[in-house]
Amino acid sequence: MTERGPESSDANATYVFAVCWNPDPSAVARLPGVADDAPVSLLPLGALTAIVQTVRARDFTNEVWQARLSDQRELERYARAHHDVVSAAAACCPTVPLPMATLYQSEERAREALSSEADRFHAALKRIAYHAEWGVKVYVQPSPPDESNHGATPTVRSRPAPGAGLAYLDRKRGAQERREQRRDEALQVAEAVDTEVRSLATASRRLRLHGPQPSGERRVQVLNATYLVAEHRADELTLLTQALRERTGAQVELSGPWVPYSFVGEV
């Protein structure tokens, strides 16, 4: 498969990264975007401006995306390319990111469709102005291996001591109770962290919990939340997460500042 076909025969499409207020064209012009055929450019929409790129339609069909999504490296390349453009735009002006893979058949169609949502874009831009998104994840260590098998050495097998069955059940019950207690404690830590961080955030969202990583890491995620925080409170957030780490003993990870991806919808 050749990447450079006869360009004249290719239909083009318009990939939209974000919608902004008054972006600086030079902020995004040198970024690669998601294709190498045309530079990332600006599409004026009245008081709004979309950050767009002209791409070959055949490289962005549903089938091509399906293949891309099943290849982690490809998916990562596109996710990061999208994110780079969004981040560069947001560094120079208020920016509403669009989800990855938002495409239109032409610039005209993009202008028409995005302009019809202008009110929602303006509302979202107002909400996120002077704010950034910060992610907070909390992890706890898994419990040690079940201790109820301790003492189960081969010698025990010959003849169970009187009451061994009862003792076994007690140990099992104890393990179950300890597990429930750990679960309750972990949930309490997650709720406590969320409550405290929300107290200095403008808005918050809980994201789905991440399952175990393929790396085999054994810590367990108990909170994956994200917060819209005013710029002038970012330092407070850093201090708060440090304090929460010390107070709870849990691993509290802070990530950001992010472009407020999670706070531009539901207008």
């Binding site: 970024l31 998916l75 990562e76 996710a79 981040s87 509403v96 495409l103 500042p257």
Partner: protein, 75 residues
């Protein structure tokens, strides 16, 4: 090689966290943003489809991952 569609050695812009973990990035670039319909790949902007495909790819991106403390879990 088909991988030169996206030049990959360009430096990251200053804004945004450096070295963002993919799983955190996907939480944000796929599932959020102002929901509008596109012309060509409406199904892709549709989160469930994306999630479905990712399920096979990254267990950590699925909502179906059971709670970590399900019976017999590590907690």
């Amino acid at each position: 090689m088909t991988h030169d569609v996206v030049p990959w050695d360009s430096p990251e812009p200053l804004a945004g966290p450096i070295g963002v973990p993919l799983v955190d990035l996907l939480d944000r670039v796929l599932a959020t943003g102002v929901v509008i319909s596109g012309d060509l790949v409406i199904a892709i902007a549709d989160v469930p489809l994306v999630r479905l495909s990712l399920h096979a790819l990254l267990s950590s991106v699925s909502e179906r991952v059971p709670a970590p403390w399900a019976d017999g879990g590590p907690l």
